[in-house]
């Protein structure tokens, strides 16, 4: 857990130092199985190690439960279980991305957090008709960077979707 947290701090620090660069948008990249994904860095609140999670009755298996994030109750989603990618192991390297979306805070467990990247408009290509594990509805484009291919996800839309079971129907209709 310590290792993950240290790594997380480095990445967050890197993000801070680059936020001055005006051109293009910045993405936090993470891996799920063999695929690499990118989310808008502005939606990311922090990165933490996986910690004591309290299970919630009657919740889908990919909702691991809730954690105490400095006094706030925050639900945690394991994307590996949700998209059936990678092995859902929980050890000191397990990383959780805390997202701030639609005025809510959600924790997301992924295989690993890799980088903060800046992509210009030219580097982003339209989303393909068929993609990886994530429904194409939630994919805003593909980012090409050297040899790497990033799947850019509209994380706000994805997390607010009905199949994530994170919000009441009422809250969803408000979005």
């Amino acid at each position: 857990m310590d290792t993950a947290a240290t790594e997380a701090r480095k990445i967050t620090a890197a993000a801070d130092s680059r936020s001055d660069i005006a051109a293009g948008r910045e993405y936090l990249t993470f891996t799920l199985g063999a695929e690499e994904y990118g989310v808008d860095i502005l939606k990311v609140q922090e990165i933490r190690g996986y910690d004591a999670v309290t299970r919630i009755p009657d919740a889908p298996d990919f909702i691991k439960g809730v954690i105490n994030l400095r006094g706030t109750i925050v639900p945690v989603v394991d994307m590996r279980l949700k998209f059936k990618l990678g092995k859902a192991e929980y050890n000191e390297f397990t990383v959780m991305i805390i997202l701030n979306i639609a005025r809510r805070v959600v924790g997301m467990v992924v295989d690993g957090v890799s980088d903060v990247l800046q992509l210009t408009a030219e580097q982003i290509r339209p989303a393909p008709e068929f993609g990886g594990a994530v429904n194409t509805r939630y994919i805003t484009g593909l980012g090409a960077l050297d040899q790497r291919m990033l799947i850019l996800v509209d994380i706000e839309k994805l997390m607010s979707g009905a199949d994530m079971a994170l919000m009441d129907a009422q809250a969803q209709s408000l979005q």
């Binding site: 309290t54 299970r55 919630i56 919740a59 809730v66 105490n68 006094g71 109750i73 809510r104 009441d168």
Partner: protein, 670 residues
């Protein structure tokens, strides 16, 4: 020079709405038979500030309308126009019109011009009408021509500016200079007793003055000097007695007057000659609620951190770590008092709700042709802001009901040998960890037979053997109304069920007591705050849950032969002579770990008169927990009312006793 004034708008609106509230309250206090000059002055001052603010910020409609209002009030306070009930009603309606104008200006929408124009016309007509001078007994209000002028030697002036005086750009010295131009001035400065420089903001004015002006100037001339600060100070001007006692010219009494009854703790708060509206005198500041919520959250975290430290500390060797442990004990005390004070910030007096009723009753009673007096008790009783906000609507409904259905018309009352004027009493008090709010009327009370008949006609089950209390509960059934005539006030049968639902949602209870022909008493019992709950922590498998202590009847170790299975899977447990449905929490929350049905430790909970036994693994203890919402970041979880954070930083879910009982009962009965 142009300045962006829009950032002041919010304050202007807040202050203006408060001003309107105090105008309304003062208007209702105004008794045409015995006009109190100060009351009219209060109304005038509020109107004046709104007019001034409206002009400054460019809300011309507001200032134009208020100007008419002010003119009328000025005639009233100078005694040129008598205070008659019609005029008071016109003023009350004008207050509504100003409120509408202000709301429209605040929300950036168009005001209801028809309404405003109507009121404006009425005001103009009233102004154009012959001014009927008040009867001579009316005390000439301050600001008018002095009643006694000539034989006067001078004036004694008590001038106590509010701390915020400097902020409005005023300088007491300028006033003193102006006064000394009128004649010979003696002044004496008093400073609040323990004036600590470290705790004092330099921009605040803490001094107050006792002045003696030897001059032939009229009171109006003296008052003129204070014209700019009238709203920012407490001012008392009295004529000097022919022989004034000798006083030193200028005495600065540092820390003096400590022996005077001015309590040291409340130093900046003088008891002025006049009672002004609440926050003017107490010196309050406006803080957005979310800032307070952040503070409460932070303190909650601090409490948890402190608990973690205490747990770690308990494992240390007391001898070797004596100093650390003493410091931890100190931390414990400090955190607790900090928590209490912070929770106290959210507390508001019941007056917050009660103050809306005089106006409502005034209007409604007029409309219904009834005579009603409202009495309030315990308006200072404090309650959590969120609870107060949620109880306001149910209370309004109950008061409206009491007026509409409870209190009879004057003729009916006379026929029943009661005074023509009915009384509705609102009382609030603390009892234990609860607040009790009572709504009492001396009207006709509930009619048992009529309620039963009505219930049956609506297809409700109602046996003649029901106890009175059970009959009264029928009026909380959805769609129930016994009113003979549906008025536009109440009686459509929506309401009482909503009232009850709202109160239950606040973890409260509502009870009725009634005597036919004598009146009715509604008692509402509410927890002081929604933020803290007394809970019993229980373990199921590896998880900890909190059961609200209020719902727990007892915990028991059931013997195997006390547990019976009914049908397929429904089980009951015999508790003394009662069979209570038994639900295993494991089964209910469907969590991995732990076997179902192997333990026989039960917690008996009760809600809405029904009981349920919960099978649990272990009882961990009782504790106060801070309730946190699950919905703010997640969604509603079945059978859970919220979550809390335990001493070790983990999250525990709080069981919803009402929902548990409600959702599990029918399945077992079937």
């Amino acid at each position: 020079m142009s300045m962006d004034l829009s950032r002041f708008h919010q304050t202007f609106f807040e202050e203006s709405f408060e001003g309107l509230d105090s105008m309304e309250a003062a208007l209702l206090r105004l008794d045409p038979a015995d006009v109190d000059a100060e009351t009219i002055n209060t109304i005038f001052r509020a109107a004046h500030s709104i007019k001034g603010g409206g002009g400054t910020f460019g809300f011309t409609a507001v200032s134009a309308f208020t100007h008419l209002l002010e003119t009328l009030l000025d005639q009233m306070r100078s005694g040129r126009r008598a205070v008659v009930p019609e005029l008071v009603n016109l003023l009350l309606r004008s207050v509504d019109a100003v409120r509408e104008l202000l709301q429209a200006a605040r929300d950036g929408r168009a005001a209801n011009l028809e309404l405003i124009a109507g009121h404006q016309l009425a005001l103009e007509q009233a102004l154009a009408g012959p001014a009927t001078p008040a009867v001579p007994t009316v005390v000439v209000a301050a600001g008018g021509e002095p009643a006694v002028a000539a034989p006067n030697r001078g004036w004694r002036i008590r001038f106590a500016p509010h701390p915020g005086l400097f902020r409005s750009g005023n300088d007491p010295l300028r006033i003193l200079r102006e006064l000394s131009g009128l004649g010979q001035l003696r002044s004496e400065v008093e400073l609040p007793a323990p004036l600590k420089l470290s705790a004092t903001v330099a921009e605040e004015s803490h001094a107050r003055w006792q002045l003696e002006l030897i001059s032939g100037a009229s009171e109006a001339e003296v008052r003129e000097a204070f014209a700019w600060v009238e709203d920012d100070c407490e001012l008392e001007i009295t004529a000097l007695a022919p022989v004034a006692e000798a006083r030193p010219a200028l005495t600065l009494i540092q820390g003096g007057r400590a022996e005077a009854p001015v309590a040291a703790a409340s130093a900046p708060r003088w008891t002025g000659p006049e009672r002004r509206g609440g926050n003017e005198a107490t010196g309050s500041i406006r803080v957005p609620t979310d800032k307070i919520d952040v503070l409460i959250n932070l303190v909650g975290e601090l409490v948890i951190t402190q608990a973690m430290l205490a747990q770690t500390g308990a494992q240390l060797d007391p001898v070797a770590n004596e100093r650390l442990l003493t410091a931890l004990a100190q931390l414990d005390r400090n955190t607790r008092s900090l928590q209490e004070s912070v929770m106290g910030i959210r507390m508001l007096p019941m007056d917050f709700v009660f103050s809306r009723f005089p106006r409502m009753i005034h209007d409604l009673a007029g409309k219904l042709g009834k005579q009603v007096r409202l009495e309030t008790q315990g308006a200072d009783t404090e309650l959590d802001k969120s609870v107060i906000e949620k109880i306001a609507d149910p209370l309004t409904h109950l008061v409206r009901n009491a007026l509409d259905h409870g209190i009879e018309t004057p003729e009916q009352r006379r026929a029943a040998g009661k005074p023509e004027e009915g009384v509705i009493t609102l009382a609030a008090s603390h009892r234990g960890g609860n607040i009790i709010i009572e709504i009492v009327d001396d009207g006709r009370g509930l009619d048992r037979e009529r309620i039963l008949a009505k219930a049956r006609s609506q297809g409700l089950e109602a046996a003649d053997t029901l106890s009175d209390a059970e009959v009264w509960q029928l009026i909380f059934a959805p769609g129930f109304s016994t009113a003979e005539v549906i008025t536009d006030v109440s009686g459509r049968g929506v309401g009482m069920d909503v009232v009850k639902k709202n109160i239950l949602a606040l973890n409260g209870q509502v009870e009725l007591a009634s005597q036919l022909g004598r009146g009715m008493r509604i008692t509402i019992r509410l927890p002081l705050t929604l933020a803290i709950l007394d809970g019993m922590s229980i373990a199921v498998g590896n998880e900890v849950f909190i059961v609200p202590l209020a719902a727990v009847v007892e915990s028991l170790q059931a013997r195997p032969d006390d547990v019976k299975t009914i049908g397929h899977s429904s089980r009951v447990v015999r508790v003394r002579n009662e069979l209570v449905p038994l639900i295993d929490l494991h089964e209910l929350v469907r969590l991995p770990g732990g076997a179902v049905g192997e333990h026989n430790l039960c917690i008996l909970i009760e809600s809405e008169g029904r009981k349920l036994a919960l099978g649990v693994d272990e009882l961990l203890g009782q504790q106060q927990v801070v309730v946190k919402s699950l919905e703010s970041n997640y969604r509603r979880v079945p059978y859970m009312s919220g979550a809390t954070i335990l001493g070790d930083g983990r999250v525990a879910l709080i069981l919803d006793a009402a929902e548990l009982v409600r959702r599990t009962q029918p399945a077992i009965a079937a």
